[in-house]
Subunit: 417 residues, 2 copies
């Protein structure tokens, strides 16, 4: 008998009809002999409705009271799902975060789970009940209601799975798994059967919306097998574990891209200590986040220094950098906001040389110029002109043997930010 923690997000429980559908799915899984703990979010739109009510009163509602307010969203869903399950002859009990003792710190609105008391859940499971838990919420040491922040229901599910040593934590969502790339850009993108925690973190940080990063980190830390699957399509989704792919598996798991960056290059800066800091320190002082950073030395003892920022910060960054570079005596500052970052991710590349060269070869074959390169242990990112995005991603998708059948089935996880 397996124990699964299944999490259904706001869209999956967005209406009475959908809640009934979730109840059907849970019942079916229960009838297969599984022990089930269900974690649900607020019905889609509900959290925003509640926030709007609070904002009508105060632009800055007290975080403690906002948590009391928002926690009602999930509480509505757990009750409705329990009612729907009982209607199907499937005994169920619903619990708020506080009732199953999801203990958190006191950081209202972004609390972190510290402990879960499994005693009550165990008792219900032993009695043959489905246990339904409100995601996104807990209580602090003083029994004040806390929330974990947006997407916190994923974290609730993973934390419960860890506390209960569940066989799998299954995240049901409106996509049916993690894809090799964005099917809107790569028609032959295919769903991955499995992927490692490291890979999904690299993909997620590049913009995959499938899972909350915090939940994945939590699952990785406690080694909870995590499965992403669709509440609308029947297929096994994608399993995220520590297990690395077999030898015959692809070296690359997925290709992500990000259209939201802009590139700034400072040419001819003196190649001496502290220069990078002078430039980036000034940028950081403006609260601008920097993503890729590349520097290489020219023959004349000066360096070219290039970095990327969010496109929305482009103009502001350019101003700051031009001011600093005048002081540094740099040759010139150039900006380019028509770029895209493309990243290959795969734990397989760790043990295989030649991934980078195969990547550059595939891009060169299409006549695509690379403006920046940055590598990490399981990722290679390049910056190219945005107009090459589709061409580049499809070429790489083929070159690394990721292509599936011509027509991908079902909905997909967007890997785009």
């Amino acid at each position: 008998m397996s124990l699964y923690v299944q999490k259904f997000g706001g869209t999956s429980v967005g209406s009475i009809e959908r809640i009934e559908h979730v109840a059907d799915m849970v019942k079916a899984s229960r009838d297969q002999g599984n022990n089930l703990v269900i974690v649900v979010s607020a019905m889609s739109g509900e959290t925003n409705r509640l926030i709007d009510l609070a904002r009508e009163i105060s632009p800055r509602p007290l975080p403690r009271e906002l948590d009391v307010l928002l926690a009602t969203g999930e509480q509505v869903t757990i009750a409705l799902l329990a009612i729907a399950l009982e209607k199907r002859g499937c005994p169920a009990r619903s619990y708020t975060g506080g009732q199953v003792a999801v203990r958190t710190d006191s950081a209202h609105g972004k609390a972190r789970i510290q402990d879960i008391d499994r005693e009550r859940v165990d008792r219900d499971l032993a009695a043959g009940r489905v246990v339904i838990v409100a995601g996104f919420q807990g209580v602090d040491a003083e029994n004040n209601i806390t929330t974990l922040g947006r997407g916190g229901s994923d974290t609730s599910a993973v934390a419960l799975a860890a506390a209960l040593k569940a066989d799998e934590c299954q995240i049901f969502t409106d996509v049916d798994g993690v894809y090799t790339s964005d099917p809107r850009v790569v028609p032959r993108a295919r769903r991955l059967e499995r992927i490692t925690f490291e890979e999904i973190l690299e993909l997620a940080s590049l913009g995959a919306k499938v899972l909350q990063i915090r939940a994945v980190e939590f699952a990785g830390k406690y080694n909870v097998p995590l499965r992403v699957l669709s509440s609308f399509h029947e297929n096994p989704g994608t399993l995220i574990t520590y297990e690395e792919p077999e030898m015959e598996d692809a070296l690359i798991s997925g290709i992500a891209f990000n259209r939201d960056e802009a590139q700034i290059t400072v040419a001819g800066v003196p190649d001496q200590p502290g220069v990078a800091f002078r430039i980036l320190g000034a940028v950081a002082d403006e609260n601008i986040e920097v993503d890729m950073i590349v520097q290489n030395v020219a023959e004349d003892g000066t360096a070219d220094f290039t970095f990327t920022v969010h496109r929305n910060d482009f103009d502001r960054t350019l101003e700051v950098v031009e001011r600093v570079c005048a002081e540094l005596g740099a040759d010139k500052v150039e900006g380019d906001h028509g770029i895209v970052k493309i990243s290959l991710v795969g734990v397989g590349m760790r043990s295989h040389a030649g991934i980078a060269s195969r990547m550059f070869e595939a891009l060169a074959a299409e006549g695509i110029n690379i403006q920046m390169i940055s590598t990490s242990e399981i990722k290679i990112s390049v910056v190219v002109q945005e107009k090459y995005l589709e061409l580049a991603v499809r070429a790489l998708h083929s070159a690394f043997g990721l292509d599936g059948p011509a027509e991908p089935v079902g909905q997909s996880a967007s890997l785009e930010e």
Copy 2:
């Protein structure tokens, strides 16, 4: 420094605008130096919205889960009120029933309060905070969420006032107090400054909607001074205590009436034991509630037996009684659904003979025939033809010196069902 528990019902917190108004009132009372515990209901309409959601799934939602669902209604209000108070620079903390440990039995949907732990409330009051508590809800010994049933917020407020030994429990509502009669029928009805627990219970059982009977009983049991006042008009409302009126006060506190009854008379039943039971037993078997019952013996050894039921049950009752009376050999069965019950209520009548005769005199002077009479220690009820309602109530209101100035001020408590 006085400690007040103030309760605001659904209409008083029915919109963000009204919640802001309640916050103004609470702030003003706080600024006068009072310690305050505020009990609120769900925003008007919210409880019905939640019940409709549950009923969309199941005609008979599980009581335990319905309580989890409904408890969110008050939780939304407490958070919003706390936010509104903090905006006014008035420190506040909101708590669910479970958080301030309102312990109840496990009768979901109609739970009874057993105990309240005052420790947390005391701590906040000592720190100068306004404490806001979700009415209508508690938790059982197993920490399951329970609700007290409709109107339970009044009971929550009284129970808190009893536990905290508050100076007064103030019930803010959309009427400004208890009136000597219904001003829609008696233009010169006036607000009572005070009334006893016994009187309000007799008036409430006749249909006053001002307060929940359970809350009044609770207040009476623990001797909590209870004040009904308006959240829209500034006046001291009506205080409900054990204190009886002074000698110079009126003998009668109020005149209630009920248009929803119908009368059934069985004439010429054998005057022997068991007859009343045969008739009313058959009525009770149909789950029909009986209100007034009157029997008197005729000279020929038979009796006339008369009782009243709700008008909706009139036809059904007539059928049942006709069947039973055929078996009993009664002369005839007569029904009348064009009647009204009028009741004088007052602890003053306990020590004064002649109230009944003065009542009958006043009615006779207007040519009004009395069809039934029933008396209790602090109440006399008569049944008359419905067409005489206004005439009878106004005549009695004058006869017992209840008339106020010609134009009553403010809104009034309806004493009609």
